[in-house]
Structure formats: C-alpha cells, structure tokens
C-alpha cells in the first residue's frame, strides 16, 4: 500500500472494500475510477460516489450495498449488515448475491441439524434411494439428446438448405473466373430451448421438495439453458446454487438459499412477482415451462389464474405436474386447478421422480 501516492490510497481501498462486499471489480475498473475522480475534480464527495457508480457498473438492486461500503470507506461509518428477507407482508424476490451468500453460509455451518432432517424426509419416499438414483442417472444420460429444440436465427452451411448461401457461392465463383460452379445453401441452426422449472416448496408440497430439487439439479447440469425458481411465500432463484456438479453440495447450497421451505403458500403472488421482473419474465418467453405444484392456493385464486394465463402465453409450452395426479381418480376439480388446466399444455404426474423425469424427457414430443 505504501507505494501508492497518498491521495489514491482511499480509492484503491474503496475498490478492495467493494470486492470484499461481493462486487466483482477488475483492476482496470479501478484505474478508470481513479481517472474519473481526477477528471471530476473531485468537487465534493458526491463526485466520488457518482464516479464509482458509473465505473464499477453497480446494478440498481445493489445500490444499497454500494452505499454502505461507500459510507464506511469515505465517511468512516460502519457497514450495516445486509438485511436478508425482512419480514414484510409484501412478497419479495429473493436473488442470492455474493454478499448475502457469505452470511448465509455462516448460518448453514452452525445448523448441523439440517442434514439429519433432510435424511429423515427422504425416508418417506416410496422409491428406495437406490432406485431414485438409478432414475436420476438415466435422466442425466438421456437428457442432452431429448431436450426440446427450436429454430435459431443463425444459419449454417447445409447441403440441402432452404436459402442460397450467396457468400460462399460467389466466393467460389470468384475463384473460378466468375463462373458459378455450384450453388451453396444454408439452413437455420437448431438450438435447445430454454427450460424453466418453477417449484412449489410450500407446506403442502413438503413431501416431494427434496426429490424435485434433485431432479432440478440434474436438469441444470444437463441442459444448456435451464432456470430454476422456487415459489412459496417468496420467490427464490436457485439456478446458481444448483451449478456445482456435486449433487450433495448443490442441494445444500440450494436449501440454504431457499428461505422458506415448507412455508405457507402464496402461489399466485409468487408467480406475479416472477412475471414482474422483466429479466425473469424473459426466461419464460419461448421456453418450456414446467410447474411442479399441487395448485392449492390459500388466498383468492384470481391472481394465480391470471399469472398462469400470462405465463402460458409467454411460454412455448406450459406443463403442470401435480403430486395429486398419482391417484387414478384425480380430476382437477379445485377451483384453481379447474381454471388452470385449459391453459396448460399437459397436466402430468408429479408424485414421484420417475414420472417427472419421464415427463421432462417427453417435452420435445408434440403436446
């Protein structure tokens, strides 16, 4: 530190403090920041604040964390711990970020009981763990080849395509003194569709949560563009937590970020919250959406039906897997399910892992 000129020291310290708070900051951003502060004078402390916002590319939802670090470095105030999931009636969108995970990891370490209760819950499955693992293995093996595809806007050379490849044809013609020897063609590429997994983790779904998360993990591992969210009283994006290849580790991380496993249901509000974030709603656009829920809604069903309607119009297809389906006499007769059924592409069995795996592998087939 001593090699730095004195006025620059706090700037570098600020960048480091931001890194400590979970912001990814590259050295050339620090250099840019210092140059920017120099450019602005700095006339007053707010200039430094603005320069940091711009050069460190602080997204709006992390403004609070940034301000706290700024205050602690430049104004000597202590950093308030980030408030996680303040109890409010409003439904919150919970997207774990670097800074938050830090605190959550601590919680996790101190809570050894978690694993025991997870094992206990597993005991309720009808399948033995061995059978379930076999299903997951087969699922992971078959998934890459069975993902639904869509036509991309990019083209590639193809022997019998649907469009003339002028570029290649004429390039070859140029080599043959301007004579067109062969017509080259292109066709559109095929790309895997996005898959969006919405998992209801409320109390009534408690039995299956663990299983579904294992399936979701296999899906995130095997599919190029899968996103997983859990719904209950809160909406939580768990895709990043499911990224590690090691299943046990990923499931631990996932259960640490899902703040309200087995909590109450506010399915409609959670789905509305999902649709209200443009970035999330964009995941659903043109995607194969799979909802795993029994559709039991505590509150008024209006918001739930409206949200599913909108979701079904954004999505390429919407499949609803309910654990109640296992009962051969099951009919979607609750008010919510009766209203939702016509909006779904297919209503399916969400009672055990084999049925769900089967359904997902069948998504590419016509509805």
């Amino acid at each position: 530190m001593s090699i730095l000129p004195r006025p620059i020291e706090p700037m570098v310290a600020f960048a480091q403090a931001l890194r400590g708070a979970g912001f990814a900051i590259a050295p050339d951003q620090t250099i840019g920041f210092i140059a920017a502060v120099g450019l602005l004078g700095p006339g007053d402390i707010l200039d430094i604040h603005k320069a940091g916002l711009a050069l460190f590319a602080i997204p709006p939802e992390r403004r609070g964390d940034y301000d706290a670090v700024f205050r602690s470095v430049f104004l000597g105030q202590t950093v308030a711990a980030p408030v996680i999931g303040a109890e409010e009636d409003e439904l919150q969108v919970h997207e774990p970020t670097g800074a938050e995970t830090d605190t959550e990891v601590e919680d996790d370490d101190s809570d050894i009981g978690d694993e025991a209760s997870a094992a206990e819950r597993l005991g309720h499955r009808t399948l033995t763990p061995g059978q379930a693992n076999r299903v997951l293995e087969l699922f992971s093996r078959d998934l890459p080849g069975r993902l639904p595809l869509r036509t991309s806007y990019r083209r590639r050379a193809r022997k019998s395509g649907d469009k003339l490849d002028i570029r290649r044809t004429l390039r070859e013609a140029a080599r043959h003194d301007g004579d067109i020897v062969r017509l080259r063609e292109t066709a559109r590429k095929r790309r895997p569709r996005k898959i969006l997994f919405l998992i209801d983790v409320s109390g009534s779904m408690e039995q299956g949560t663990e299983t579904v998360l294992r399936l979701a993990h296999a899906l995130v591992q095997g599919a190029e563009r899968a996103e997983v969210f859990t719904l209950a009283t809160r909406l939580t994006r768990i895709t990043p937590a499911l990224r590690p290849g090691d299943r046990a580790q990923a499931l631990d991380r996932a259960s640490a970020v899902i703040a309200d496993v087995d909590g109450g249901t506010r399915l409609g509000a959670a789905m509305a919250a999902f649709l209200a974030v443009p970035r999330y709603a964009a995941f659903a656009r043109g995607a194969a959406v799979v909802v795993i829920s029994d559709g039991l809604e505590r509150d008024d069903i209006g918001p739930l039906v409206a949200a599913v309607d909108r979701l079904s119009r954004l999505a390429w297809r919407l499949d609803w897997l309910t654990p109640l389906f296992a009962d051969p006499n099951y009919r979607p007769e609750t008010a919510a399910m009766a209203a939702i059924q016509p909006m779904t592409t297919r209503l399916g069995d969400g009672s055990d892992i084999a049925a769900m795996a089967d359904h997902i592998l069948g998504l590419a087939r016509a509805a």
């Binding site: 120099g38 450019l39 602005l40 711009a54 990019r154």
Partner: protein, 293 residues
C-alpha cells in the same frame, strides 16, 4: 489510459448537462456525469433501464450535442458480423469479374465493401457516435464478438487485414435488461442505470417535447403515470407514453371532449396491455389524471 477532459468544448458534467438541455434532453446529474466520464475516458457508455425511460433518446442527444452522426445498430437474436460489421458486395464483385475478363482485378477493393455501422464508426471515429441499441436482444455470441471490438477498437477483415480506429470512437450501448449482460462487457463500460425521472423532471420533459400541452395537464398526467408505475403492471408506461398520453388527451380535449373523458378515451396510448387494463378496470377512474386545465 488516454484522458481527454475537453471534448468538443464540453469540459465538465455540468457543461454536458447544459448542452443536453439546450438540445431538448433533460438529463439528471448522474446521467450527465456518467456520459461525461465515458467521453473523457474514451470508454463505451452502457445505459440500462426499463423500456421507455429514454435510453436511445439520451444517446441521440449526446450525438447531437457533439455534432456527430448517430449510427444506430439495432440488435436482434442472430445478428452477426455481416449485419453489424461489413459484407462484400457479391453481385458487384461478380459483375466486375466478368467484365474484367483476362485483366487482373482486386476483388477486395474498397468499392466492393459494404460498411455496416460498426465499420463505419471505425472509419470515421471523430464524426460519428455508434449506438448499439438493445444489446440484451442479441445473443451471447454477438456479445463476445462485441467485446473484442470495444476493448481495442479494431476490426479484422480476413481479406484486407486489421483496421484500427485512429481515435476512440464514441460508443453508447443500451439494454432493457431482459437478461443480464456478461460481466466482462459491463466491466469495459461506464455504466448508468436510467430510472424513471422524478415527477418534476418528467413534467418538464412533457412540456419540452409536447409543445401543445398545458402545464397543468402535464402535471396531472405525470402524477397519474407515477401511480400507474407503482401498480404491478406487465408493461408500465415509459416516459414516451407519458408524453404521448398528454399530447393525445390535449388533442381530444381541443376537439371538445371534457377532461377526465379525454384521458379515458386516450388510455390506449399509455397502457398497451389488455391484461393491465382488465386488472385496473375497477380502479381506473381513481387513477386517471384528475382536474387538468
């Protein structure tokens, strides 16, 4: 890092802000600071925000202030080098080849090169502003491709070689944030999140852009739009919608419709989603702009 504190007579964020106001774009402190820093540091400016907050307008205004031509590159999924960078004019090459017969001819001459916005900006870095619009619509492949361009402002064309900009071109990127941009791209840019303007500023924007609108109407519309944005709508009205709603209602009013009715009749200008209208149906009366003029 080359720093140019004075660009076309603009030597501070305040100077830029004043110039933008003169060009009919009302920018707040944070935006003019970020834009000034981007210009002075020779970095691209990345503007993010909800649709309709005026990101593209901001870029055009900066171009106007600097006296530069704005080259707009609209992004879409599947956009690639032939749409963004350059393409050879194959029919012309072929004709020239036929006509030349035995004479030798350079097929990769400049006259056969069709420059797309990025190449054009590179060829004339001091006279243009490159606007890469809605980068979130492009796919990751294009983002990676862009990264190379933005880090050292060079383009390589296999048939010609590498072209380098003499000076740093001014580049503005906009994103509606329908997806997260790659960290590496954000890192290279000066970033600004454009929020909806506060009520006073938005009323001033309405007045500046729609000359026919009375001040009281502008204020009433802005108050109503602010309320609408607090509702969980699929498509909250942007600044452009505010301006158009004020204009539309004023027009209907001039043709004899009474006030609240003029707003109700023109609601389609502000709310463009059937679900939103149904959702607000019962309460719409209370949300409409009240007394105006």
């Amino acid at each position: 890092m080359p720093v140019t504190p004075n660009i076309a007579g603009i030597d501070s964020p305040v100077a830029l802000q004043q110039a933008l106001v003169a060009a009919q774009y009302l920018a707040d402190d944070a935006l003019s600071t970020a834009a000034y820093l981007a210009l002075a540091l020779g970095k691209p400016l990345l503007l993010e925000g909800a649709p309709g907050v005026g990101k593209t307008e901001a870029a055009k205004a900066v171009g106007g202030v600097l006296g530069r031509t704005v080259l707009r590159l609209q992004c879409y999924e599947g956009i690639d080098a032939s749409g963004a960078l350059y393409e050879w004019n194959y029919p012309r090459q072929l004709l020239a080849l036929r006509r030349a017969e035995d004479a030798s001819i350079d097929l990769y001459d400049d006259r056969f090169l069709l420059a797309r916005p990025m190449l054009e900006a590179l060829r004339n870095p001091s006279g243009t502003l490159l606007l890469i619009d809605e980068i979130d619509r492009a796919d990751h492949e294009f983002e990676a491709f862009l990264l190379e361009f933005l880090s050292d402002y060079t383009i390589s064309i296999p048939e010609i070689g590498t072209m380098r900009a003499e000076t740093h071109p001014v580049v503005v990127l906009t994103s509606n944030r329908t997806r997260d941009l790659h960290e590496a791209l954000r890192r290279r840019c000066v970033y600004h999140w454009i929020d909806y303007p506060d009520a006073t500023l938005e009323a001033r924007i309405v007045m500046a852009r729609a000359s026919s609108v009375a001040e009281t109407t502008a204020q009433a519309v802005v108050a109503s739009v602010t309320q609408l944005r607090a509702e969980p709508l699929a498509k909250p009205p942007g600044v452009a919608e505010t301006v158009e709603w004020a204009e539309a209602a004023t027009l209907l009013n001039a043709q004899g419709l009474r006030w609240p009715e003029a707003f109700r009749q023109s609601i389609g200008v502000a709310l463009k989603d059937h679900d939103d209208l149904t959702f607000l149906q019962d309460r719409l009366e209370a949300l409409l702009p009240g007394e105006a003029a």
